[in-house]
Symmetry: C2
Subunit: 705 residues, 2 copies
């Protein structure tokens, strides 16, 4: 079976039909708090993310009732058996149906079975493994088949996303899906070092990853700020380097098993020779400068670095990687290699002498020497090396993988030299950029200069959740839902890139993700409740605070580090800015509304804008009052005041546009200058709806000319 | 030090000052969504729960800024060191202050230290251990001292609850607390069997328990529906008896260590000889009837039971309890012993012969024989036996503990016979009763017939979270905040029993509990979002659904099991009823409002009621519309319609009351009958605001007479 299916999928197949259908579907909003949208029609196209390679749906329906049975070849304990059990729990959870099947005990196919699953062989958790599947939904029967069990897992996620409702009940649309990923390496990096992430954070994010078909957890496990794995060979690593916050080897194995059940690889990263302060708290003898060392609390690039000239360093790494190679089964091991500060190398006479003796011209050459030794060690333990851009040097074996934080050009250069690469530049989700920006960032863009053979070396990409400014409470909201858009970029055909359509689906998927326990939506109100604390507030004030949070965004990029506060790993990440989503989907809707009005000047949109401005004026005044009373909210007073000013400008512009009587001379100029002022960060936030008012001003200016 | 402090506390001390202060304080609402309340005054008394034995506060303030340092004798890794680190994180989280102290690395007292902690010795996790503490807050210095480190832990929680704010910033009120618990055994039972509770559920609830000074986790680990602990001696117990959902021994140790850090004992319960179906899936040879057995999916009392006549049964338990006795360090081990069904005993000829031979007159005598054998085994491994009421029999040693699910009378009987007891009757939080009911339920009520010596045998009580109808998503909302009221009953002086005051504080504490990750508040909206799914809804409809959920409660007691749906451990617990809080604090406020109006007839309350009825009419119509469109919400249509009818009655009654023009003859009778109809459960829920309308009708009737 597997070969036939594989061949069929290889001839595939633009997703034209789905994209077409989606564009034709009425705009339906998800149920995320605050989203608005009228009742939609029946027979909407379900929100699929990532969009499958090929899909055809009809108007017919497979009806779901409590007699829905799933069956296949798998025994309890098997990966697919467990996945089907989760599928049934989720199906039951969404529909409220009391399913009759005891799906935890028995999935033997029988006369009642309606969903049949079948696969050829157990998939290996390796790049290039077959994850394709085929899903046939008829009115009375569903078949899910795949060359490997991994394909069945991916197909179950698609099937669940197809769940639809009408007034008669729940159903799957009759149709057919043939699907396979565009890229084989679809990852999420989680940094457990800058802030430690307890096991449950990793687990719930693995579940969420699986639901959008990501397949690599890149686990960043050592940093200046913490060494996070129990080492039995060198116990002072975790004992002295982690403040007691590390994963035991049993917990690591638990996560690897959990991920394996989801068809997700776990690739560890031990970042060396820089970013390594925490190692030296217990083992200063391998550093390039004498200790003692303390765990780093600040963020940035620091001086502590391994001593490449000390032969004991390699004895240490030999034993260390022997231990870690057996703990982590993945064939790849990431050694970081980024941002090496050479100050301690320069100051160390022994190292300088070593460089001279070995003809190592500069620090880059010294790091290359170091990497060569590490490569030998990894090879000894059957691990392939992965590293950031900096690890590249001529002569490395061709089975290593270079992960690019610097950009697509580095990836292109690597591929031309014959090296495999994965893209992370453009997927830095910690920077609070828009989903759109990540979504349009393609590891192999349409204008790629690479040959087809070279393109095959681009394995995929990884979203990177660096953890300087996230805690276990906020990390989910920095990952989701935007990472679902990245997951689609890495799975779906290149041609799937309709941004509005993506956002439409993203809002729905975002709510579905909550099923896995990720807290990206629900922690916002919780955090706002904490900020208010036991202070007395009216429900109007509370609502105003929530509204302000929903239209505000943290400043982008690394700006939070340069706005006056010195962040450390002990700093509170509980402030208003931390409660804000990286991207306000409500602001995006509002800007769309302004856009719509500007281009059509229709009176319905005008009224909506007017109503919204009136509401926001109340939000502003209530939030100002609240901010004045509660110490931890004092900082948002200017933000709330700015909202008031913004609303005043917007309302006035709207009146001028509606009345077609232009403003007085100089008014526009003044408002534009004021708008520049309002764009300045307040409380490390920005008002995400400013572009809506800008659009009104531009329209006014153009009408005025 | 310890003796002196203990003596001082023994002479203590009615909490008159605090109760007085609280009653005088302006009513302040917490920030829980939907609670209303105007801006309050400065210098409110902080919400303490449990209320300390003695407290005096002044108007002076200890100001908190980023230079707040905590210091004491403890080294990293110590229980108090970690507790202080958590305290500092939470303080920083609530205030947004960037504390300068590296409290994870160093708590050595120095010139900057403002909070000094000190204790006499490491506390043992045993009943009667000293948990008292003394807290002195001056304007520039705070001292927290206690005979044991456990006292310091308890005191830190009190100090954090004292955190207050005014327009100048955050502060602790200057004052003094001398505190010790009334009862030594203050527990929460978590049933991990009917529904498996992942590790993080246990952890976050342990944190929450510690913050209200509970000190025993009673962990219900075996049941008909699942055997939840890895057994290396009898591996088929967890392999075949758990559907793969069990705790490894490492995870058990992790929880015990986590709880110990919080000063909480972990007492395991293995329920025998009944409630034991899951054991027999792997080991049918110890059952009273031949197998094979399957894990039970239903709920109730079932026939499978251990065979007390088989000598191998005791060999099995000898090895089993040897293993578990070394896994769980607590000196107490709970053997359940409740609800033994004798059907299989009666059917088994060998057992009947055994009874005759040993002069065991009835099944109770047979269970007593069984318990005697188990007692010998437990004694061999240095464990004291705990069991439910049914384990009592004459001649048991006096160091066992009887836990009463039957009632206070059983506890009294036990104490008179010289047995120690703990109360759970009245603390069954799974029954969705009010906090008030649990709060007023006293293990030693004021009218207790016991002598002082006998009273000493009443060790305390335990809230019981039986898990038939809770999932990891909903369990927190069934535990919190009501269990905080039980915690107060068990810690605070008997005289602290002002219900309104308790509710006032409970709303604030409920929000503070979210800090520990418990999801009792935030999962409601999440669950409602899931129910709506990808269906199109307007924001008004979504708000209506939320409002309906906030004034609805699940039916009380065991009624959900007899309303037409057969619950099993696979049934969905994701429906509207599951999203509702066991007790609607908003409904309580609303009833209070009606009460206030009825007694004062003041026009402000009248207007508030009128506005609320108008709003609820919109809620009703919007929810009806939504329920009609979304299959899983269909069932709430009658509930939403009932709300409309209720509002109509309430509005009419209000008009009559206001106009002082009575209704027509027969109107009242008709409405009262209608109200009876509206009280019938719909969607397994009840409208919690019905009593408000009832009060209006009663007032009308009385005015009419």
């Amino acid at each position: 079976m597997s070969l036939r299916l594989e061949k069929r999928l290889k001839t595939a197949l633009l997703p034209v039909s789905l994209v077409f259908l989606l564009l034709m579907a009425p705009a339906v909003s998800g149920s995320e708090a605050g989203n608005t949208g009228g009742p939609g029609k029946e027979n909407r196209v379900p929100a699929l993310m990532p969009v499958p390679a090929r899909i055809q749906l009809s108007q017919d329906k497979f009806r779901i009732d409590e007699k829905f049975y799933a069956g296949g070849q798998e025994q309890p304990g098997g990966r697919v058996f467990k996945a089907v059990a989760r599928f049934m729990f989720r199906l039951s959870g969404r529909t409220g149906l009391f399913l009759k099947q005891d799906f935890l005990a028995d999935q033997t196919p029988g006369p009642n079975t309606r969903l049949f699953y079948r696969y050829g062989r157990t998939g290996r958790l390796l790049p290039y493994e077959d994850e394709s599947y085929e899903l046939k939904i008829d009115k009375e029967r569903i078949e899910l088949q795949a060359p490997t069990d991994l394909g069945v897992l991916r197909g179950l996620e698609t099937l669940l996303q197809l769940l639809s409702a009408d007034e008669q009940g729940y159903y799957f649309p009759v149709g057919r899906v043939e699907d396979r990923p565009r890229f084989t390496w679809r990852g999420l990096l989680i940094d457990s070092c800058r802030h430690f992430m307890p096991l449950e954070v990793i687990k719930r994010n693995l579940l969420a990853m699986a639901s959008v078909k990501l397949n690599v957890l890149h686990w960043h496990l050592s940093e200046d700020q913490g060494f996070r794995v129990e080492s039995r060979t060198f116990p002072r690593l975790h004992q002295l380097g982690s403040d007691g916050m590390y994963y035991t080897q049993d917990q690591i194995r638990e996560i690897i098993g959990f991920a394996s059940d989801l068809g997700i690889r776990v690739m560890p990263e031990f970042d060396i020779p820089g970013h390594s302060t925490s190692w030296f708290v217990g083992y200063p003898e391998y550093a390039s400068a004498p200790g003692p060392y303390r765990i780093e609390r600040g963020f940035g690039v620091f001086h502590p670095v391994f001593n490449p000239a000390n032969p004991d360093t390699y004895k240490f790494f030999n034993r260390f990687f022997r231990e870690m190679a057996s703990l982590f089964p993945d064939p790849y091991l990431h050694i970081g290699g980024d941002e090496v500060e050479a100050a301690h190398w320069k100051q160390n006479q022994q190292i300088q002498a070593f460089m001279k003796k070995h003809n190592l011209a500069d620090n880059h050459a010294l790091q290359a020497y170091f990497n060569q030794q590490i490569l030998k060690i990894l090879t000894r333990y059957n691990k392939k090396m992965v590293g950031w851009d900096e690890i590249y040097q001529p002569g490395l074996p061709k089975d290593i993988v270079i992960q690019s934080w610097r950009g697509t050009q580095a990836l292109v250069d690597g591929a031309r030299r014959g090296y495999q690469g994965i893209l992370s530049n453009g997927y830095y989700i910690d920077l609070c950029e828009t989903a759109e920006r990540h979504y349009l960032n393609d590891p192999i863009p349409p204008d790629s200069p690479l040959t087809e053979a070279e393109k095959k070396l681009i394995l995929g990409g990884e979203a990177t959740m660096w953890a300087e400014l996230v805690s276990p409470e906020t990390v989910d909201s920095r990952i989701w839902p935007r990472t679902a858009a990245i997951a689609e970029r890495l799975w779906s055909p290149q041609e799937v890139r309709d941004v509005d359509d993506m956002y439409h689906r993203l809002a729905i998927i975002s709510v579905q993700l909550e099923e896995h326990g990720v807290q990206h939506l629900k922690n916002q109100d919780m955090m706002l409740r904490r900020l208010v604390g036991s202070s007395a507030v009216s429900s109007t004030e509370m609502a105003a605070l929530q509204s302000l949070a929903r239209i505000s965004e943290p400043v982008k990029g690394y700006a939070r580090h340069s706005l006056g506060r010195k962040y450390t790993s002990l700093a509170p990440l509980t402030r208003f800015v931390d409660s804000c989503f990286p991207e306000s989907l409500e602001a995006r809707d509002f800007i769309k509304l302004a856009d719509g009005y500007v281009s059509t000047r229709n009176s319905e949109n005008q009224q909506k804008l007017k109503d919204a401005f009136n509401q926001l004026a109340v939000v502003s005044s209530q939030a100002v009052a609240l901010a004045g009373r509660i110490p931890v909210l004092n900082e948002i007073k200017p933000l709330a005041e700015n909202l008031g000013q913004l609303v005043a400008i917007g309302s006035a512009a709207l009146s001028y546009l509606a009345s077609k009587k232009g403003p007085q001379d100089g008014w526009l100029e003044t408002q534009k200058n004021l708008l520049m002022e309002l764009k300045k960060p307040q409380a490390e936030c920005q008002l995400a709806i400013i572009p809506a008012v800008e659009k009104l001003l531009v329209a006014l200016e153009e009408g005025h000319k």
